[in-house]
């Protein structure tokens, strides 16, 4: 994952507001079912887990499966009661963990 994941979420929100969060990460999501031109199976390599926390508390998480298309895009909502930092984590089959953070001010 050479490129930084994309995030879209508001910088500010009112206490108790439900906000929308969009995430996109560049990844081939190789299923492990395809064959190369020589007939050999291309090994599986996918993002198998995604999670989002706010100040360490879980907001949303998902197990991703091979049928999910390349560059997985996830959109979800979160109810925010306090200012803090969202942390986003993507876990690759090969063990690579990509994280990124974004802060939000709740008034």
């Amino acid at each position: 994952m050479a490129d930084k994941p994309r995030l879209k979420l508001p910088k500010q929100a009112k206490k108790g507001e439900i906000i929308q969060i969009k995430t996109l990460v560049q990844h081939p999501m190789e299923t492990g079912l395809r064959k190369d031109p020589d007939g050999k199976l291309i090994p599986r390599k996918i993002i198998n887990k995604f999670s989002c926390t706010l100040n360490g508390k879980p907001v949303f998480s998902a197990d991703l499966e091979p049928a999910i298309a390349a560059n997985p895009y996830l959109e979800f909502t979160a109810k925010v009661d306090e200012s803090g930092t969202f942390k986003f984590t993507w876990v690759d089959d090969d063990g690579t963990v990509t994280t990124t953070e974004e802060s939000i001010t709740v008034s």
């Binding site: 490129d3 994309r6 879209k8 969009k22 996109l24 560049q26 081939p28 390349a70």
Partner: protein
């Protein structure tokens, strides 16, 4: 003139007069009106090797955009056949839908229930009732073998002359054609090319959550300040890219008399960065593509207007126009055969829509969701060549430059919208 402008004009004039001698300095020269220094030599990998995963067939004995004297000539007269054609209509029915030979007949013709009437094209006439047309076996045979003996201007591939189908196979096809006597029944409405709606691209290509092609812009912004072996980065001379390149890309490609060829953005990026920074961003490298996307992205919204007034540019445009009409590859197609609306343009070739020339330039480089990759116009040219079974040229080939200039003129006035997103 406001005072500040006068001052700038004065300083520029004074500076020009005093700085004729070369100055050895750690300071990079500022962007000036002098022609940009450019590296000579090849701007892409040599020997050129086809991209991994592309078809590997070698079609070296057929015309390319660089050499149109390779393909076998059109026969001067129809072939005479001894007696009626013998063939098996069942084998013919399979051959007309055989996708291993350039999509075969169904790519362009509706043919009754052939191939289960699954997404036939409509570049050529509907042949569903050709069996009622009263054509002799010999005429049907020659239409398939090489239709140029009846219509010199036909866009139909010369299946026999160019060795795509053997005489025996054409016999089977003729036997099948004679069985076609009823209008096609399509399993669904979209299978009927006359009713299938043309694709419309509605995705917001400038939203980075929609178009992964935009990620190259971020990469280019990092490259902009990367110093090369010479000690300079792009930013050393062009400190704020967004100020310097608001319109530049919309005027490309451009005739370059020093190199005697047309330079597109990609080739310019290689040649200029090589001299100015020492970085070797060969065409089709990820750095080259990122920078080429970025430079066009900065000019997004500007109308495409290329200069074809100089004698060199005029000649290049005329060469490009001739190349657009040049028949290439084993399938013997020109650009215009597929993209001019009077021929195949705005028609279906099997399940794929053939666009016209206008609208095929303003969004390149474009993210291709089917390829999960961003393609510049030269890679698109290369793919078109390989798709008509012609050997592609290296991306910096002068023929592609001429063709790109011709295409840019066909797209004049359209606003740059880069990176695009397409299937």
């Amino acid at each position: 003139m406001p005072r500040a402008s006068i001052l700038v004009a004065f300083l520029t004039a004074a500076g020009a007069a005093q700085m004729l001698a070369p100055v050895v300095s750690a300071q990079a020269p500022s962007q000036s009106s002098e022609p940009a220094p450019l590296a000579t030599g090849d701007a892409a990998a040599r020997p050129w090797k086809r991209y991994p995963g592309w078809p590997t067939r070698d079609t070296a004995s057929f015309n390319t955009l660089a050499d149109q004297k390779l393909s076998p000539p059109a026969p001067s007269a129809p072939r005479k056949l001894e007696g009626p054609v013998t063939g098996d209509p069942a084998i013919g029915a399979e051959l007309v839908a055989d996708r291993t030979r350039g999509g075969s007949c169904l790519a362009c013709h509706v043919m009754g229930q052939a191939g289960n009437a699954d997404l036939p094209g409509n570049v050529g006439p509907d042949l569903s009732e050709i069996g009622n047309a009263g054509l002799k076996d010999e005429e049907l045979f020659n239409f398939v073998y090489d239709a140029r003996v009846y219509h010199a201007e036909t866009i139909m591939p010369p299946w026999g002359t160019n060795g795509l189908f053997s005489d025996a196979e054409i016999g089977h096809i003729v036997a099948f054609l004679k069985t076609l006597t009823k209008p096609a029944m399509f399993p669904t409405e979209v299978d009927d090319p006359s009713k299938r709606p043309p694709p419309v691209e509605t995705r917001d290509n400038l939203d980075d959550l929609v178009n992964p092609g935009l990620w190259t812009v971020e990469k280019a912004q990092q490259l902009w300040t990367t110093r090369g072996p010479v000690g300079f980065s792009c930013a050393s001379c062009h400190d704020r890219a967004e100020d310097h390149f608001k319109t530049w890309a919309a005027s490309m490609p451009k005739w370059e008399p020093r190199l005697d060829k047309v330079l597109g953005v990609e080739e310019f990026v290689y040649r200029h960065a090589q001299v100015a920074t020492g970085l070797s961003w060969l065409m089709q490298s990820s750095e080259n593509t990122a920078m080429s996307v970025y430079l066009r992205f900065l000019a997004d919204g500007q109308e495409i207007h290329v200069d074809v007034t100089s004698p060199g540019a005029k000649q290049a445009y005329e060469r490009g126009k001739a190349l657009a009409a040049a028949k290439v590859g084993q399938l013997n197609f020109s650009c215009l055969d597929c993209h001019n609306p009077e021929r195949g343009g705005l028609h279906w070739i099997r399940g794929q829509w053939l666009g016209e020339q206008r609208g095929q330039y303003d969004h390149f480089p474009t993210w291709r969701t089917s390829q999960q990759d961003i393609w510049d116009i030269r890679k698109r040219f290369q793919w078109c060549n390989v798709a008509v079974w012609a050997n592609e040229l290296p991306p910096d080939a002068k023929e592609y430059g001429d063709l790109e200039l011709y295409l840019a003129v066909a797209n004049a006035g359209l606003k740059l919208n880069v990176p695009g997103i397409r299937h």
